[in-house]
Amino acid sequence: MIKKVFEKPLNFLETILFLDFIKGMSITIKQAFTKTITTHYPYEKLTPPKRFRGFFGHKTVNGLEPQPAFDEWVERMKIEPRPGQSRCVVCYLCKKACPVPDLFEIDGKKLENGKKVVSVFNMNLMLCTFCGLCVDACPVDCLFQSDIHETASFSRKDAILNLEKLEAIGKSWQDRREHEPDRIWIDDDARQALWRENKLNLKKVDNA
């Protein structure tokens, strides 16, 4: 059954005194004299939460790899792990998981000692939907999405992330945010502090 809901009709006195107009206008005038809550974007920037799906990056070998997955994959793919370089094991799982596999261009090279390292890792972000399936597929927590959200560029070339860029993004991420606990948006204290500057308190959510 469809329940019909109508707004309460104004009575005659309310109509001729424009009570509905006055109600709305009192709200807007109150808002007009309160402080603004905007961020002046190019001059002030909000930090996205840690789980933000921004530009991609390659985490580097720094001793914090997921174990024993990393050692297993290194052994299986015969990879030479180099500290400070990409963790990539050239398993192609990200490319398999991708809805648009063409955007990945991955290749490895053989070293003289018979082991492999990643040599080519290009991502064409013109085709990317930032869905994160490749990140979920990565077995060694190498490919990840950073908090870089200003993706505009002057040429299409800039939209292609090569291995150097990915490693640079990964290194800066590990310096800046690796140690933050993994939180969702609303109970992120860093973010909450930014909102508090603007005198707006978001409700705390009880996750228990």
Binding site: F21, G24, M25, I27, T28, I29, Q31, A32, F33, T34, K35, T36, I37, T38, H40
Partner: protein
């Protein structure tokens, strides 16, 4: 007064009035954006100049340097004529607006009104009605369905509310026994009463008609950003596009606010206590206080219009015309009926 002096005085008046209309009209865009922003808890333009004070200049430069595109299927003559037909009548209304009392400058008695014709109010409404040509022509010449729908809606609104606004204005005219804008203000000063106190119904009807004629919320159905992509201006670009909102939202609001001030708020007269007299907190300015009072009144009216605009949602077109013909017009006629009994009681 010699003919040369008269010519010079009129030329000065024309220059001052045009400068006021176009200069203030341009800066009202900034006022509107600031008010709208703060109602929505945004700061508005902040980058160009101190708190965006140079934003209108930047906007003007941007609009002027844009490419002038003529739609391939548009009628070129009507397309350009529409802009003139929108701008000129709206500006001409200021010819009959008295900005202040008579002043003495360099030995001349000067009325701060361009032409004190004895049918000033009728002239103002005639020019107001001419504005529909600008809109209708722009809609027709653009050869676009959105523009045409917007123009038809606007034409429907203006035709409805022209009738209403004229009947509403009949009340003050009957009380003042004059059609000259200058004489209407003088009548209010002599009778020691602003006509808003004697004509509250007529005042409300006039404010509604003002909002409708200028395409302000809740009557901005010809703009209807969501459905009509700003209606009749959709095929215009650059400064041609900039002129339509300038005329409709600022020049017309200013001119009709001035007429409303003249009719109901006693023009340049200071604060009024009905039938007792006037209180002038700005007495120290001498004869110039009149101008300040006129500016204050028009400013308050303009801010009221902005406040309404950024508060209310819009009516549908059928609701707008229903209000015009079934509510506002009977109210205006009822007001005239009452006024016929009040008018003989006033001395003047």
């Amino acid at each position: 007064m010699s003919i040369v002096a008269l010519g010079i005085i009129i030329a000065i008046k024309v220059v001052i009035i045009l400068a006021i209309i176009l200069g203030i009209g341009a800066y009202l865009t900034l006022v509107e954006r600031k008010v709208a922003a703060h109602i929505q808890r945004r700061p508005g333009p902040m980058v160009v100049g101190w708190h965006g004070l140079l934003q209108p200049l930047a906007d003007g430069i941007k609009l002027l340097t844009k490419e002038d595109i003529l739609p391939s299927s548009a009628n070129q003559v009507l397309y350009n004529l529409a802009i003139i037909m929108a701008l000129v009548p709206a500006s001409l209304v200021f010819a009959v607006v008295p900005f202040g009392p008579e002043i003495h400058v360099f030995g001349y008695d000067i009325k701060p009104i361009l032409t004190d014709v004895n049918i000033g109010i009728i002239m103002a409404f005639a020019f107001g009605s001419l504005a529909v040509y600008g809109v209708a022509l722009s809609g027709w010449a653009s050869n676009s369905k959105y523009a045409l729908i917007g123009a038809l809606r606007k034409a429907g609104i203006i035709i409805s509310y022209e009738v209403v606004i004229t009947f509403a204005a009949l009340g003050p005219i009957m009380l003042a026994k004059s059609l000259s804008t200058y004489d209407i203000v003088m009548a209010q000063i002599h009778q020691k009463v602003w006509y808003i106190f004697l004509q509250p119904i007529s005042f409300v009807v006039f404010v509604f008609a003002l909002l409708a004629e200028t395409g302000r919320v809740p009557f901005d159905i010809q703009e209807a950003e969501a459905e009509l992509v700003t209606g009749f201006t959709v095929e215009y670009g650059g400064m041609k596009f900039g002129l339509f909102p300038l005329v409709e939202w600022y020049v017309e609001v200013l001119s009709l606010s001035s007429i409303l001030t003249v009719l109901y708020l006693g023009g340049w007269s200071p604060i009024n206590i009905p039938f007792v007299g006037f209180i002038d907190p700005l007495f120290f300015l001498g004869p110039w206080s009149g101008f300040i009072w006129f500016i204050i009144k028009v400013t308050i009216l303009f801010l009221l219009v902005l406040w309404l605009h950024w508060t209310l949602p819009r009516y549908r077109i059928d609701q707008i015309t229903t209000i015009a013909w079934k509510v506002m017009l009977p109210l205006a006629l009822f007001n005239i009926l009452i006024t016929t009994f009040i008018a003989p009681l006033l001395r003047g």
